[in-house]
């Protein structure tokens, strides 16, 4: 870990579902458990509602990592939509890998409404993993790009 990654505070967008994982976060809160403040939680009705566009938008807007969380397999309030989230997560991870985004920047976490402690511990772990990866900086895409010099090899006289 370099000096930079020690002081770097990652920004993580976390998508939670209304029925399990958001309630796990709620439980962590009401039980006054402390966890790293780097995750900004966004509540959806279901992890199956998570359009992969949301993940790309988070990265494009400067997020260093994205957390997708939902009910445990078999526990989905909408019967099987968290399986859709699971399959999309696997495919999205492959696409992001081809774009050079490290696999550790996208995490899938199942958490029931009773698992506040697990939720908090997993977030702490994730924040440290992302801190080690360093910033992603997708939002630094310079629209007013500078010309590439094409130098590197001198033309022989």
């Amino acid at each position: 870990m370099t000096e930079d990654t020690k002081t770097f505070e990652p920004t993580i967008i976390g998508f939670t579902c209304n029925w399990c994982s958001y309630r796990a976060a709620d439980m962590a809160g009401t039980a006054r458990m402390k966890y790293a403040p780097n995750v900004r939680l966004i509540r959806l009705m279901c992890s199956g509602r998570l359009d992969p566009t949301f993940v790309l938008k988070a990265f494009a807007s400067g997020a260093d990592a994205v957390l997708i969380s939902g009910c445990h397999p078999g526990d989905c309030h909408y019967i099987e939509q968290n399986y859709k989230a699971l399959r999309r997560y696997h495919l999205l991870k492959r696409v992001l890998g081809q774009l050079g985004v490290e696999p550790g920047r996208l995490k899938l976490l199942w958490a029931s409404a009773a698992e506040g402690a697990i939720f908090a511990a997993e977030i702490n772990k994730f924040v440290e993993e992302v801190r080690a990866l360093g910033p992603l900086n997708y939002n630094k895409y310079p629209l007013a790009v500078q010309a590439h010099g094409m130098v590197g090899t001198e033309v022989p006289a």
Binding site: T53, K57, A60, R87, H148, M150, T153
Partner: protein
């Protein structure tokens, strides 16, 4: 009365858009009857200084095809924007990067190496083109490659977007008809920023193949299997981009037995083309077991290429991390 002026320009593109324009057959005579063609490098001799000498806004209609790959493209885009009343991003390259936009997977330096220093190139001294070079007769210049390919609307203000690789000829003819009618006061042009010459729905909506519930146990490449000619291709495990692609082509490829590769770009309301396909493909995989899901996904050999073949430069992320980092991002 002098005729309204027409221009067409190509930047980083293949020239297919120009051929598509000529493919409107005798309709091209209507273009000639109603417009004075002032600048169209592929069809007539013209110099940039002639365009520079024109009055601002003096060209009524400019069709621009191609992405912005080098500083010459950027200069002409800004010039033609100034000189044109209506600037149309014409074809996939200008709209979303298209095939030249796939270069955004790699840093520009890697592209130069691939082009000039790989085993198929006889270049023992590793010479790269120099944008400026002093000769005894004076300094000569060639355009300088930019770090990433950009779409036209990432560089200048665009009035209309006309997708397609290339745009279908019947769509081009319809657009030209509309502009001519608008000139004669018989029709109104759509609001600025509109997508013209295409549908608002998806290729699937126009596709005549039969559709049932999709449950995919295996993805396979179309050349390796005998596809049922009547049945939805995606249902047969053939990666078809129809669910996210804008309609307007009359579902040409699926009707001819090939999968849609997405040349008409994102359908109305799709903000990231690839993400929409991740959602569509992900939901039809018939497994809830992570290991089996991974095995099924192995059948998609190049998902980023499948989902961003035409759309990388115009997508939310626009380029790969190595390409961005090489540019100081």
């Amino acid at each position: 009365m002098s005729k309204p002026k027409f221009a067409m320009y190509w930047a980083a593109s293949c020239g297919g858009c120009e051929i598509a324009v000529l493919n409107i057959h005798e309709k091209i005579l209507d273009v000639d009857a109603n417009f004075e063609v002032v600048f169209w490098p592929v069809a007539m001799d013209a110099k940039y200084k002639d365009v520079e000498a024109m009055e601002d806004g003096s060209i009524l209609l400019t069709l621009w095809n191609g992405g912005i790959r080098n500083d010459e493209n950027e200069h002409i885009a800004k010039l033609l924007r100034k000189k044109s009343q209506i600037l149309v991003a014409f074809g996939s390259c200008a709209n979303e990067g298209c095939i030249p936009g796939l270069a955004n997977f790699s840093p520009a330096s890697e592209i130069m190496t691939t082009a000039f220093n790989t085993i198929s190139t006889d270049n023992p001294k590793g010479i790269l083109p120099q944008p400026h070079y002093k000769m005894p007769e004076g300094e000569i210049h060639i355009p300088t490659i930019l770090p990433m390919l950009r779409t036209l609307d990432q560089v200048v203000d665009v009035d209309y977007f006309m997708p397609g690789c290339p745009p279908e000829s019947h769509q081009i003819a319809a657009v030209i008809d509309l502009v001519i009618q608008a000139l004669q006061g018989k029709a109104q042009l759509p609001p600025k920023g509109a997508v013209i010459g295409a549908g608002a729905s998806t290729v699937c909506d126009e596709c005549e193949r039969k559709r049932n519930v999709k449950t995919i146990k295996e993805f396979g490449r179309i050349q390796l299997q005998h596809a049922d000619p009547e049945l939805c291709l995606l249902e047969q495990g053939i990666p078809c981009n129809g669910p996210a692609t804008r309609s307007g082509c009359n579902s040409r490829c699926p009707s001819a037995g090939a999968q849609c590769i997405g040349c008409y770009g994102p359908a109305e309301g799709v903000s990231d083309y690839g993400a929409r396909l991740v959602a569509a493909f992900g939901s039809v995989i018939d497994s809830n077991d992570p290991a089996e899901i991974d095995r099924i996904l192995d059948g998609l050999v190049d998902p980023a290429g499948q989902f961003y073949r035409f759309n990388l430069a115009g997508s939310m992320l626009k380029a790969s991390i190595p390409a961005i980092r090489a540019n100081g991002g």
